[in-house]
């Protein structure tokens, strides 16, 4: 496992360095376009923008993402099954501190992990996910998310995502100024500078247009690979690849849109929430590997012994690609383990799962649950705190506890 993290870090470091170089070059280009000779100033501005955004994302990135996604933090009593599944996967992955658990009030099934490191992590799942998936499938999804935490994907995706954001912002400012206000200045200055000045300007403009696209493709490439890796780790943690495979199938098969997802947060989810339902996306522009492919790889592992090596060969077989996804150092490091064949029985029907999840959401909104002797349970909104309401079935007066209880 340590090998895996180390190899992952090396690749991530190279990517971060490449992105940083691209960022500074973009800064230089923007500076040069706005005012000849202003390239270095542009680089300095790029550095400041980047440092500011990185500091923000380091200290508050997870809060921003969770807030944007309207995720609510839960306690064990709100949704015991989800809480227990997260605890189980912490034990399986050897994670020392349990991440915070969040629920998003959305019908589309999906999930993501965020945070800075293993001690500051959070897992968020939608209500739709809790309603759709069986316990085994939920376990698979949570294992995938904790694998992201364990492999430190959450930190690197945040850092790289922030750099991508800075490049987009800089290039955007550059193009806008050029388009609306830079015209006069540019004509007067290029006549002063002659041929070489014009050449620099052209190169700078091309860079300004190309940089965001290149940065985005780099970001997508790394995020696709990390999805496969997290699938592999998730299968090893649960010892049951079918759980994750079934979950991916259900999530990708859902046609309900996830309203809280944006282009910035989409790559974090287990299945791309902004996928076009017709599936007409080019391979390079994908943030996630095609789900059918992930499912097929996982299914080909079912019942057999599991290891990173096995996942690697299954990946090559299914995709027909010669280059694998698992870093070479980690292939030999992990021993093979036996997989579970049988699903664990889950007695909860879909109706019961929906009730469990809605109850959790109501509890989060501070509804009071009043049990009447006739068997009815009243769910009373917080505005009725401290008031007495008759039971709709048997007219027994029931009192909602005062606020603060």
């Amino acid at each position: 496992m340590f090998e895996l993290i180390r190899a992952n870090n090396r690749r991530a470091a190279v990517l971060v360095a490449a992105m940083a170089a691209l960022l500074f070059v973009t800064g230089y280009a923007v500076g040069e376009v706005l005012a000849p000779g202003g390239g270095l100033l542009g680089t300095a501005v790029a550095l400041v923008v980047w440092l500011g955004m990185t500091a923000t994302s380091w200290f508050a990135g997870d809060k921003i993402v969770l807030g944007l996604s309207r995720a609510r933090k839960i306690e064990k009593k709100d949704h015991p099954v989800l809480w227990n599944v997260v605890e189980e996967m912490c034990v399986a992955s050897g994670l020392a501190k349990m991440p915070d658990v969040y629920i998003i009030d959305e019908d589309a099934p999906n999930a993501f992990a965020t945070g800075r490191d293993k001690d500051h992590a959070a897992v968020a799942v939608t209500a739709g996910l809790l309603e759709t998936l069986t316990r085994d499938e939920l376990q698979g999804v949570v294992a995938h998310e904790l694998a992201h935490v364990n492999n430190r994907d959450v930190l690197y995706m945040t850092l790289v995502g922030v750099m991508l954001g800075s490049i987009v912002v800089l290039a955007d400012v550059g193009t806008r100024v050029l388009w609306y206000g830079g015209g006069r200045r540019r004509t007067s200055s290029s006549s002063d500078r002659g041929g070489s000045g014009a050449l620099i300007a052209v190169v700078a403009i091309v860079l300004m247009i190309a940089a965001p696209i290149v940065a985005q493709l780099m970001y997508f490439a790394i995020s696709r690979r990390r999805e496969y890796l997290a699938d592999a780790c998730g299968a090893v943690y649960t010892r049951y690849p079918e759980g994750l495979a079934g979950a991916l199938e259900k999530i990708a098969g859902s046609t309900t849109p996830l309203h809280v997802a944006t282009r910035a947060t989409a790559p974090m989810y287990i299945v791309n929430p902004l996928r076009s339902l017709k599936g007409g996306m080019s391979a390079l522009a994908r943030t996630h590997p095609p789900t059918e492919e992930r499912v097929r790889i996982l299914r080909s592992l079912a019942g057999g012994p599991l290891s990173m090596q096995r996942y690697e060969s299954a990946f090559r077989q299914v995709t027909g690609r010669a280059v694998g996804v698992v870093p070479a150092g980690s292939l030999a490091a992990l021993e093979e383990v036996a997989a579970r064949r049988e699903p664990t029985p889950d007695s909860r029907s879909r109706t019961e799962r929906v009730r469990e999840t809605t109850d959790a959401l109501w509890q989060l909104q501070r509804f009071a649950f009043l049990a009447c002797a006739c068997g009815t349970t009243l769910k009373v909104p917080p505005v009725y705190r401290g008031r007495t309401i008759p039971c709709p079935h048997c007219d027994t007066p029931l009192t909602s506890p005062a606020a603060g209880d």
Binding site: V91, A92, E335, T344
Partner: protein, 188 residues
Amino acid sequence: MFGGFFFLIFLGLMAAVVVWVIGLYNGLVRLKNGVENAWSQIDVQLKRRYDLIPNLVETVKGYAKHERETFDAVVKARQQAINITGSVADQAKAENMLTQTLRSLFALAEAYPDLKANQNFLALQEELASTENKISFSRQFYNDSALKLNNKVEMFPSNIVANMFNFAKAEFFEIEEPEAREAPKVSF
């Protein structure tokens, strides 16, 4: 002059060997601590299960008074598992026994619809099922750590250092699943 040169090389080699042995030793210590930490994780989950059982037995008793034998078997298996202070293998055996009796207790609940609808029972069932899962996941993690330590203790060259400082191999926490070995019996 020449002798001094060789002496320096000799000293350098000695220093390299010492650094290398220290590295191997520290690696072994890290693995051994890993195994101990993994074992304490299992221990936490086992204790949690001991704590849940009396509550469960009380709840089931309220609905199924006539199943005395099953209750007694569960209570006895729990006490036995708590009292074990021997090797990992003994502990594993007692815990497997407890798992079996708990399964028969849950199988019994199937015959009592009122019990199955009881909120308290359902919550306890989820807690115990999850604790069972955590026990088996922490056992996985423990066995993985034990395998890593044992490989280092047996393999050359780390086995020399392990022998020098008396590093012992860790015992595996095995489970016995009788139904997994026997062919399923079908009766018509």
